[in-house]
Structures are given as structure tokens and as C-alpha cells.
Symmetry: C4
């Protein structure tokens, strides 16, 4: 009986959603699923095409980034996942993709402005873009530092990781998370669609204003507030 | 024998068209189907994925927005549907989506200008964008007010809901309607395509003029006028 | 034995290619196939969805636009087809779509500039956009006049319909033709792709020059010239 | 026993990937696969639709562009392939497509700037756009000259063909290569996606800077350097 079977299966299923949702080309993405009791997560092996994946091929890693089980090399972004799991107690899944529109905003090093209710249904802030790291951090333990860069991007703007479940890493691409791997995958599709809509909105009206506060609050609270009643 | 069977089936079938037409991500949309004799409509339950829908899961609601039958919660946009059914006697179906291009125009708070015959085949005006509501309306009975905001957008410009079967709600997304749920779904695909074409047209030629009146009239009348002969 | 069977079948098969190639939404398109010996063409019936088509439903029309056989109403664009068949002796098929990018250029009332070899592989000119008609022509025999407008667009620029097999009708959408219905359908996919590439090219470099003459000539001639050797 | 069977099969399989990856319309592309021991390559026959291809239809050509075996005419771009195989000893496959976004950059005659890590995961330079040839070269042995134009584009900027496996031919479209035909096909999908992201990045932020050197180096080296550990 494999005590990691649940998270291997969950990570496998969640990884397989990425190509179905059109969020990855080749192997440009990875999902992990955590077991908080055991202090580990299952993550996609490095460079393996989605069509060759199976639950058994998932690699088990602890929250310090040390491989616990698995014959394949874990995703090269593993340390970023480990840092986030270690510091954010209430997340159970993390996704990284290079989805086209979200990556374009990351390359532009811009936060995604909150322009409509599709965005406000999910959070109340511009989606933050973590600034690129300095040369020293990049040349050092890069993937580890990426985790801290993500955390700083939220903290410096007073955002909770439980509300803002998505971020852009400047010059790189989006990371998303959630209570479960499924929710993290959902968020990776949401950030891509919100990024696409915001791009189009600025093309249609370059001087467009951000969403008014009352509308941000209304849409967020009807889905996530105490008396939430959302769901379409 | 279920007296609501017909509209449950119609609402189910129409809802299932939205993902097929590429108009929704996850559950970002809903369709309702009305029975005018019984004074009710069937609408998608809140937050249920399209792949889990069935006719039995549709919720029956009256034109004041009160649930008449069904164990699931109706779409959070239900009151907007109710207002429109109550005031517009000749509509039998309503659709709400967050389709990408139409939503981008809504976020830009712009009417979609009539630039070509694809638009004029369906109506003779710029597709109106209802302005965002004031804070008081938003904090009050929001979805109910959205219905009136839609009605005002047409009335203030002298448009009939029988000709103009589509609207953008500013900062939010499109609503469409029609004599049947099928027609309302058709209209939701049309507004998305017209929105996409208008966006591209302005990119290709920023100073592009609106369509000349004679051409608007010709195309609309050959499809909808007394001696209509349209259909490709 | 039905003497029109061949063109009914050809028109049916060609019409069914349009949704497969992503060139039409709903019924926004039509293809016809001509029999020069019999002086007639088969054309899609008006307003019938592609999934309900069959060879038997095609309508037979002569080159003056008079229906010869068929219980359904022919496409509302039938007279445009008739004019072109009557005046251009060497064409055997005509296609009309509202494909997205080509229609956007038509709405912008701009010729599509020749920016690359993908364009020059098919013809040596900017793809002409026929100017919108005056009010009198529009209010008169509109679809008939559309045919002459197309012919004038080529003639006024010294183009042969045997080289330039595609045109934009200003404010409306593209028409294409060819020796066979298959070639006409091929051309409708080509004009859409060339329109998309030209749009992107101008976005990437607003002041981009047209293709140099020697390269236009080289690519066109290697595919269509006396010593043609093209085909990838 | 056919000594060319392996490369025929490899070229066939690689050609069939192009429509699956959405990189070609109709026959607008071709792949070749080389056997270095025999000094030949197998290439797609000219003008044959992908659905009609089979390994047996591949044409065998030597590195001077002379057909060695095969009843069909080889791709019109065959001499370009031959030049590259002759001069670049370590490549085993070449791909040419007219994929939409990469072709738009080629038509704009611009190098694709390195804006993000998706690009740096594959190489460390802007993807070069070879300038259009002069009239004499075009009117001469055009496809042969295209090969030299590609080689010059890399050499003039100090790039190795073993690092930079992709190029735009100005006014024309992309060529890619690699140690195997599979890798060359992979590169043709990468250049299309990188081209699309770079286009969107400039739309979102017109004055966007190139990627900083340390990040270029980090991402390239973690995948391709001595201590590479990449793979997602």
C-alpha cells in the first residue's frame, strides 16, 4: 500500500488538465499536489511529455525540496513549489505554465489591471507581477529565490495568498495555487483568460479606467464573502 | 407528468450549446427558457459544471425571481433574467456569457460600432453598452438593478428589444435574448463574432467610419423586413 | 438520372468544407458549382444549417439568376454568383464567407497589401477591396450590383480574374472563385490567412513596406508561370 | 530491403506533426530527414496534401539537391534544405512552415527580440531575420541562395547553428532545424509560440526592454549547459 498514492493520482490528473485547457505547449508546465500530514508533495517529472505521464511517474519531494521517492528527476521548478508549500500552510496544489497571454503580461513586467467582473469574481486586486530578480539572486539558488520573489510580490502589496491565488513572475510566466490541485489548475485557466481580456480591453480603449471599488467588492463578496451566493 | 419538462429540456439543450460554441470557460455563463403560460422560466443551477448538467437539475423560477421548484440554487444572475422576462413580453430565452471579445468591449465601456453587414444582418444600431451602475445600486439589489440597467440602455437610445436582442453590461459582459432559447444562444455567438470583427477593424484602420445608412437598412430589411429574402 | 447530380454533389462537398476550415459561423457563407455546358450552377439553399445540407437540397439556378430546379430558396447572394458566372467564362465555382480577418479588412475598406511570399504564391497584387456602392445601387438590385462592383474592382486595377481569384467587398466580406468549387474554397482559406498575416505584420511594424517586385514575380511564377515547379 | 526506409519513415512522421501542431494550412510546409552516412535526405513531395502522404512518397535527394530516388517532384524548397545539410554537419532534420505569427515577423523583417524565459529556454539571442535578397539573387538560383542567406544571417551575428536552431527568412517565413527531424519540428512550434508571445508583449507594453543577460544565461544553461537540470 503506497501512502503517496493519493497525491500521485491527484498530481497526475491535474497535470493532464493543462493540455486539455490549452495552457501548455509540449512540457511547458507542471502541477504539484501536497499531503500536509506527510509534509510532502507529488510533482511532475522533468521533461516527460504529458502523453507519457502516469501516476507512478510522479516524484515525491518534501517542503525543503529534497526528493523522497521516485526514480525520475522532479520538475526543474520544484524548489519554487517547495518554498510556497513551506510558507503557505493552507495551499494543497501549485501550477506553473507558460500560457500565452499571461506570459506576455509577465514579459511586459506589468500587473494585470482589474478591468471587469470576470477578474473581480476571483480577487479584488490587480494581479501582481513580481519584478525580475537581481543578477546575484538569479545566479544563486534561482528556483528557490523565485519562491521568495512570489511571496514578496504579495506581501509588499498587502495581499493574502488565500485571496490572491495567482501571480506573474516578471520576464517568466504565471504561477497559481489553491487549496487543491484542481483549484490551482482552475486558477491557471482564469489568469490566462483575465490576461487575454485585459489585453483586448486596452487595445479597444487605451485609456480605460480600472473597475470601481463597489463593483469589485460586490462581485468578490457574492462569490467569496460571508453571504456568498455565486455560481452561474 | 412534469408540466415544466419542456422548458427544462430547452434550457438544458441551450446551456449545452455554450461550451460547444466556445462562449464559456468553466461555468461562466447561463441560459434560461421561459414558459409564458405558466409565468416561469427554467435556468441553470449555480456553479454546476456543464458536463454535470441534466434537464432535471434546471431550477424553475417565476418572473419575480422566486424559486418555484428545484433543489439546487438558481444562477446568481437569476433576478436579471426575471426582470427582463417580466417587462419584455415577447422573449422566450435569455443568455449571459463572459465571451472574450464581447466582454473586452464591455470592460472598455464602449458600444460596438456598426462597421459591416455581418452586424447589419442582425440589427441597425451600435450594440449598446449599459453604463456601470452607481455605488448605491451596486450595493443594493444588484442583479435586479442589472435588469433595469439593461432595459434603460435600450430605451434611452430608442431601441426595441425585439430588434436589438443583445447588450453589453459595462464592466461586466454581454446579455442576449430572443423569442426562443435557441435564438438567444445564436445571438450570444453573433455578438461575440461582431465584437471580434469590430476590434480587428479598428486595429486595421483606427479612423474607420460607421456603415452607411442605406447599407444598414438594406441588410437588415432583406433578413427581417416585410419582403425579407435572406438566408445564406 | 439527374443531369445536375454532379454539380449538386460538388456544391454540397464544397459547402461542407467551410465549417471544417473554420471559415463560417452558423450559415454565414455559401458555395456554388457551375456546369458550363448546361449554363447553370448549383448553390446552397438560403438559411439552411450546414449539418442539415445534402446534395438534393442544392438549388439549380441559371446565369441570369433564375431558379431552374429546387424547392428551397437559393442563397440571397445568388444574383452575385450569377453575374460572375455570366461574365467570367473560365470559373467553375464561387465562395462567399464572412471569415473573421478578411471581413475585418473589408469593414476597414482597405486592400490587403502584399507583404510576403504567402501572398505572392497566389497572386501579384494587393487583394482589392471594392468600394461600397452608392445609395441608389444599394437600394436597387443590390446583389446584382454587387457582382458588377466586384468585376469593376478588378478591371479598374488591370487585374485578370484568372490571376486574382479573391476580392473584398467593402463593408461586407470576401468573395473568391476558381476553375472548380474546390479551388474557390481553397482561395477562401487563403484570403483569410493572408488577411490575418497582413494584420499582424502591420501591428508588429506599422511602417512595413510592400514586397519587392522581384520576389513577387519569383514566387508567383514558380507556382503559376510557364516553368512552374512549386508545391511544398 | 530499402536502405532509405528509416529516413522516409522519419520524414513522413515529422511531416504529419505539422498539421497536428497547427503550423500549416494546406501544403504550406515541409520537413526533411537526413542520413549522414548515405549523404542524402528524404523530403516531402511537392504539393501533396498531408492526408495523402505516406513514407513511400518521400523523395530522396543528395546534399547537392539532386534527386536520387522517387517518382514525385521534391518540395520546391529542396535546394535550401540541401545547402544547409551540406554546410552544417550536425543537423539531421529541417522544417519550413508558413506558421502565422513567425511569418508575420518575417514579413515585418524584424528579428524576434528575446523578451522572456520561454525564449531563453531555447537560445540566448534575438531570433534572426535574414534580410531579403537582392534582385539578382532572387532571379537566379533562388532556393539555393535562400540557404546561403540563412547561413549568413547566423554567421554575421556570431551565432552557432547548434545553438540557434531557428531563423526567419525576411518577407518569407521561418526555417528550423535540429539533430533530428523531431527536434526540428519541435523548434518550429517553439518559434511560432515565441513569435506570438513577443508580438503580444509589445502590444501590452510598446517600450518593453529585452531580457537581462543573467536571466538569459540562467535559463539557457539550466537546460543546455554543462550542469543542465531542466525539464518541466
Amino acid at each position: 500500500m503506497d501512502k503517496y498514492q493519493d497525491i500521485k493520482e491527484a498530481a497526475y490528473q491535474a497535470n493532464m488538465q493543462l493540455p486539455k485547457l490549452g495552457l501548455v505547449l509540449f512540457t511547458f508546465g507542471n502541477v504539484s499536489a501536497a499531503n500536509r500530514n506527510l509534509g510532502v508533495f507529488a510533482i511532475k517529472p522533468s521533461g516527460v511529455p504529458y502523453e507519457d505521464l502516469s501516476p507512478e511517474k510522479m516524484v515525491i519531494v518534501d517542503f525543503d525540496g529534497v526528493t523522497v521517492e521516485g526514480s525520475l528527476r522532479p520538475s526543474s521548478d520544484t524548489k519554487t513549489h517547495a518554498v510556497l508549500y513551506k510558507h503557505w500552510e493552507n495551499i494543497g496544489g501549485i501550477v506553473h505554465t507558460h500560457s500565452t497571454y499571461a506570459t506576455a503580461w509577465a514579459q511586459a513586467q506589468r500587473d494585470i489591471p482589474i478591468y471587469g467582473t470576470t477578474h473581480a469574481d476571483h480577487n479584488t486586486f490587480d494581479i501582481p507581477c513580481a519584478p525580475p530578480m537581481n543578477d546575484e539572486m538569479i545566479q544563486g539558488d534561482y528556483e528557490y529565490q523565485t519562491g521568495f520573489q512570489i511571496m514578496n510580490a504579495l506581501e509588499s502589496k498587502g495581499m493574502s495568498y488565500e485571496e490572491m491565488e495567482m501571480v506573474l513572475v516578471g520576464n517568466h510566466a504565471p504561477f497559481t495555487w489553491g487549496k487543491t490541485p484542481e483549484k490551482a489548475v482552475y486558477n491557471s485557466a482564469v489568469v490566462e483568460e483575465v490576461a487575454r481580456m485585459a489585453y483586448l480591453t486596452e487595445q479597444i480603449r487605451p485609456s480605460v479606467p480600472r473597475l470601481q471599488d463597489s463593483l469589485i467588492r460586490k462581485h468578490y463578496d457574492r462569490k467569496h464573502g460571508a453571504g456568498s451566493y455565486y455560481g452561474q
